[in-house]
Symmetry: C2
Subunit: 193 residues, 2 copies
């Protein structure tokens, strides 16, 4: 159950076998079936969630009932509403499983305790935060400067695993396009090959 | 010269007097006069900059030559292009002093060394990253959901010190409004009082 988590940690920092075993005790394992919800909009996001297996998405809904997908996450990734999680405020996002998934949940107090006990876990968390910040910034810049086609191609290059596993209308929602526009773009790309 | 920095650190973590003295040796003090530039678009952002005194802004320029202000920062704050700083990539931002300013510069290698020597400095950096991430997320949500008037009022409530010290056309640029729209909004608000 902890294989992917240990890989994620040891890609960034060095922990002893003892420390890794200690880590285990702070996480709450949870399984979600496809379409089950981990976080409901309006609730406080009390878990930072590591994905051992499966695929989740976070999304927000506008007043007209249209979904806007904020993030996809697959095994080896973390997913949460970080603002809600860190500030204890209600979340504007829903997090839902798109495949049967195996998760490891970390509350804020468990996270604080882990960082106190294992300084290298704090470094791991800092490096995750840096990456999240950079990804967020890249997403903003992409929204401001790239054409629809560039956004689609870059998504496929950066996250090939996700594009293959997610229905096209969700890819469109993530990119801020209508399904029709995305379909037209994919046709144009395939004609050029 | 280190008053504001020490206050910023000790608001978040506890450092010994020895550790604070050690901190000093890792920063490069620098003074900028009004309108002088700290980072030029196209360069790599090699400093994370703490502001002891003064006011700076970061902005990007579109193809038509219009400036888009990304951030203001006053004494007690950090300013940098975090993505460029952390990934060694060229920056799309320019950082410029809007008042005569006194700065403390931290290179990435000095930051790494400080975090290795003083674990609580790493915690301080993690907490700064968390706040930066949350502020970034709030900025995105505000852009997506708030009216122009709400944006202006919230900016004044959140950062009264900045609104008073910055020319109105720059406030407009930060909020993504034309100066004329902002002027109309301010008139409407003052009429209602």
């Amino acid at each position: 159950m902890f294989e992917q988590l240990f890989k994620s940690i040891q890609d960034k920092v060095i922990l002893t076998q003892e420390e890794l075993e200690l880590c285990k005790t702070f996480f709450i394992p949870k399984k979600l079936r496809k379409k089950q919800v981990l976080l409901q909009e309006g609730d406080i996001c009390i878990y930072n969630t590591f994905i051992e297996k499966g695929l989740l998405r976070s999304f927000t809904m506008d007043e007209k009932g249209n979904e806007h997908i904020v993030q996809f996450a697959i095994e080896g990734w973390w997913i949460t509403d970080l603002s809600s999680y860190l500030t204890n405020s209600t979340s504007i996002y829903t997090i839902e499983a798109l495949e049967d998934s195996e998760l490891l949940l970390l509350t804020t107090s468990a996270r604080e305790a882990l960082m106190d006990k294992i300084p290298m876990f704090e470094r791991y968390q800092r490096l995750l935060l840096q990456n999240a910040y950079i990804a967020n910034q890249a997403r903003i810049n992409s929204a401001l400067t790239e054409t629809a086609e560039e956004k689609y191609i870059n998504l496929g290059n950066t996250y090939p695993g996700i594009v293959k596993r997610v229905p096209q209308h969700m890819i469109a929602s993530y990119l801020g396009l209508t399904p029709e526009t995305l379909s037209r773009i994919r046709k144009q790309i395939s004609l050029r090959k």
